[in-house]
Amino acid sequence: MLWFLTLHSPSYLLPAGAAEVPDLNERLKKLINAGPCMLFMKGSPQEPRCGFSRQIVGLLKEHNIQFSSFDILSDEEVRQGLKTFSNWPTYPQLYVNGELVGGLDIVKELAESGELENTCPKAVSLEQRLKSAINQSPVMLFMKGNKEAARCGFRRLTIPHVVYWCFY
């Protein structure tokens, strides 16, 4: 399963009740670090609005890369600001851990040379997530609520007698 988080507007970056617009560079820094792998594109992965953006999404999906995306058509300030911030004049732009990897041409060449998987984080399948979760500790309890506030009578009976980590 591939995950991508799509950000259409950076309003979530504004602290609640903020009266002033944060410095653009700070906004951009937060945006490019919003995920380990961030794609700034035209449109969304589900609905790209440019052939170059569509192709880069295709490459990332094909190589099972987990990424978040931002639609630069939804925010003109980010669209123009990021070009200056990163000194990169075109879109799409791919960032990994806050660093610019490049555009479609570079991602294509990385894919062809087999380096793309090493450059970007891979998507974790549901199966892998579940395997990881059930093996976090020798004893794992999957319950409703948590140790302090078990939300079901069955769990309240179990808690006093067992030492465990819980996933809720």
Binding site: N87, G102, G103, D105, I106
Partner: protein, 148 residues
């Protein structure tokens, strides 16, 4: 006029043999294509390339006929030896900074060393347009700058 094709009889051939299938005619400066001419001039001056191709791909996009807004360039130069891809592209972007900030909306880049070009002398292919340039104010401004 077809270029002469050099043939190598040694077991290890160091020169590039270019079959006719890869032949692309030399592109002379055209006064009707000022942006293309400028791009070619700047890239030649900056990189002293072994091989250079400049393709106007505007006709593949939702812009008026005759536009010079979308380009693909292939630069083969010894200046790229030892440089990672992103640095090579930054050098090309820097050389064409003025065009990219005014008239050129999209620039596809292939930046290869002569050795890489010798191994794989192929021009990349741009994806088909999805009409993203239509009703795009940034593109309209660049087209206007190109006309002025």
């Amino acid at each position: 006029m077809l270029p002469s094709v050099s043939r190598c009889t040694r077991p290890i051939c160091l020169s590039v043999v270019r079959p006719l299938a890869h032949f692309r005619p030399p592109m002379d400066p055209d006064p009707n294509r000022p942006v293309e001419t400028t791009i070619r001039t700047k890239l030649t001056e900056k990189f002293k390339p072994d091989h250079l191709e400049v393709h106007n791909e505007s006709h593949m996009h939702a812009v008026p006929p005759g536009s010079e807004s979308h380009f693909r360039v292939l630069v083969v130069s010894t200046q790229f030896v030892g440089l990672p891809l992103i640095q090579r592209h930054r050098l090309v972007n820097e050389a064409l900074k003025e065009e990219l900030s005014s008239r050129v909306h999209a620039l596809a880049i292939q930046a290869k060393t002569p050795e890489q070009w010798g191994v794989d002398p192929a021009l990349g292919k741009s994806p088909s347009c999805m009409g993203g340039s239509k009703n795009d104010r940034t593109v309209e401004e660049k087209l206007k700058a190109g006309r002025e």
